[in-house]
């Protein structure tokens, strides 16, 4: 897709959110999509990121990711809010992402009173994500009532006055994995080094150390990643435990409030 068009679309969604919500937080996983979204916000607001940037930290992310987090924080002058999630036992996949991260997010939402969260999901990631809307309501327990019609005709987003719960804002919904990489290349956006091949393996999608496995790849530059994606037939999230573990897991995770 045309990158200018996608960028415009994202700007518009972010600005519409900016107009409608009082306190916005951006979820940042240190992965390429959420880093691209931080970049978009910064470009739109001419060098400033006017929102809290929330990183849910379970303490077991890759050292590369932590170094990358510090680097971006300083370079872009980010108001970083770290939501510590507790690792209860040696759990991973559904239980880890479901209970640990979601609990940490719930706590920070309540504490800092965000009425909207910018989340970097894309339609092409998963069949269920394809059904998402740009603005998507969550109730007090962060549940998504996907049976409600999506009210976002004409780009004039219709937003309910929420007494509780919050809105998810999805500026990257229309982008594909390839679009994101092409944009990263065009705008020279820094990315987490884990995406690049080392000893024949690279990460295509980043979770934490417990549930992410690298894929076979020799792509050690953005150009090679773009080439690889143009020729691949497998799913981006295939390297994550979560997706394979259980049936309809994504649906359950989303219903529980997972990103």
């Amino acid at each position: 897709m045309n990158l200018n068009y996608l960028e415009s679309r994202s700007f518009y969604i972010i600005k519409e959110a900016d107009k409608r919500f009082n306190k916005i937080g951006v979820l940042w996983s240190m992965g390429k999509d959420s880093t691209a979204v931080l970049y978009l916000i910064r470009k739109l607001f001419e060098g400033e990121i006017p929102y809290d940037v929330i990183n849910i930290d379970n303490g077991i992310d890759f050292p590369e990711s932590y170094r990358f987090r510090d680097l971006i924080k300083d370079m872009w002058n980010i108001k970083l809010v770290i939501a510590k999630s507790k690792i209860k036992k040696e759990i991973s996949g559904f239980a880890c992402c479901g209970s640990n991260k979601t609990e940490a997010l719930k706590e920070i939402l309540k504490k800092n009173r965000y009425d909207a969260l910018i989340v970097s999901i894309r339609r092409d990631e998963h069949g269920i994500r394809a059904k998402e809307s740009y603005f998507s309501k969550r109730d007090a327990s962060m549940r998504w009532n996907y049976k409600e019609p999506r009210l976002e005709l004409f780009g004039n987003f219709i937003v309910d006055n929420l007494k509780e719960g919050h809105y998810r804002v999805h500026p990257l919904l229309d982008w594909s994995e390839l679009d994101v990489w092409r944009y990263i290349k065009r705008e020279k956006i820094p990315v987490n080094p884990l995406y690049f091949s080392k000893d024949g393996y690279r990460y295509r999608s980043l979770g934490c150390t417990h549930c992410t496995v690298p894929v076979r790849s020799d792509a050690d530059s953005i150009d090679k990643i773009i080439y690889e994606l143009k020729h691949t037939k497998t799913e981006e999230r295939g390297g994550r435990d979560q997706d394979k573990e259980k049936e309809y897991i994504m649906q359950r995770l989303r219903a529980m409030g997972y990103m």
Partner: protein
Amino acid sequence: MIRAIVLGDKDNGKSTLIGNMLILTKSISRDRLKEAYRYSSKIAKRQEHAFILDSFEEEREEGFTLRSTEYKIHCNNEDITLIDVPGHKELIENMISGFNNVDLALLVISAESDKIPEQAFNHLKIARIFGLKDIIFCINKLDLFDKPERRFEYIKNLIQDQLNDSSYNGLKAYFIPISALKGYNLVKRYYDFGEGTVIDKIIELKRSRKKDSIARFVVNSIEKNRLEGFLFSGKLSKKSKLYDPYNNEDYAVYTDKSYSSFSYVKLRTDSIIKGNTKLLIDRRATISKKEEEKAEIFLIKRAARDLTLSLYYDRLEASIKGDIKIMDISNLKISKSEAIPVELSESRESLSRFIILDKDNKIVGIGRFVR
């Protein structure tokens, strides 16, 4: 880029059509396909292409689409977005929400039945309100017939008889014989009768479509003479002239470069904007600020007469006068509570359309202002 919405009553084959188009144009990953087939063999006891789109547990168990979905395919150097919507009458709100910036519509009709489902015509009327003139009728399931050409002609005639009704004035119908299941005439030609393949027709219609050239800039924020917003249609060169219909002022507007439609634009005006405005538009547009406007609306359920209209650029409290039909087009008058300017235009790019909301912010219908 083309956006095509896929309409039709439930079970006529919409999800199968999109699913198979994704497969035939290699626009879906092997993993996703495997996942879909695994569940379809389990639940439906055979490989259903529809499972690629229907991803929720309920959708698969019950066998129908709950929420609209968008899928991108790339074919013959064109990006095509196909939008799947629920066909069920009960889910018509969800269906309407699929109409975001749509260029054309496919209407899938199964050749199995001797009667064209009423829901297909409801969808046509909604498409009309959205300004969609080109409708590609996909006559489906022809693989079930020994003499597909005869069956195709028969169904085509049934449809054409009904299209003579004045509700469909201006509509252009194209008829394509298909089997969504077998993939006949989706991407490659199989039947030698009818109007070619679905893909070719979509691309042909997109290329021949003329857009009006009116610049419509929806304002997002104003600070003195600096504005930000979205250019919905037309073009802006570095220096253009635009009209503010809210305050009845003309401005010269400046941008850093030229922009085409669907761009987020930051611009400067030659003087400070007087009062608040939501819209800057080319002088050639037909704008009305009357207290009462003529409109064409499609209500999906009974509602109070005092309603909210959500326009592209603003919200408007209004009340409806005249006979209201449910699940049909009503021609009536709308009186506005404020002097909000509205555009009167037939063109698909225009801002004349609105969603009708009740007090609880729920969609009760759609409409457009007319001359």
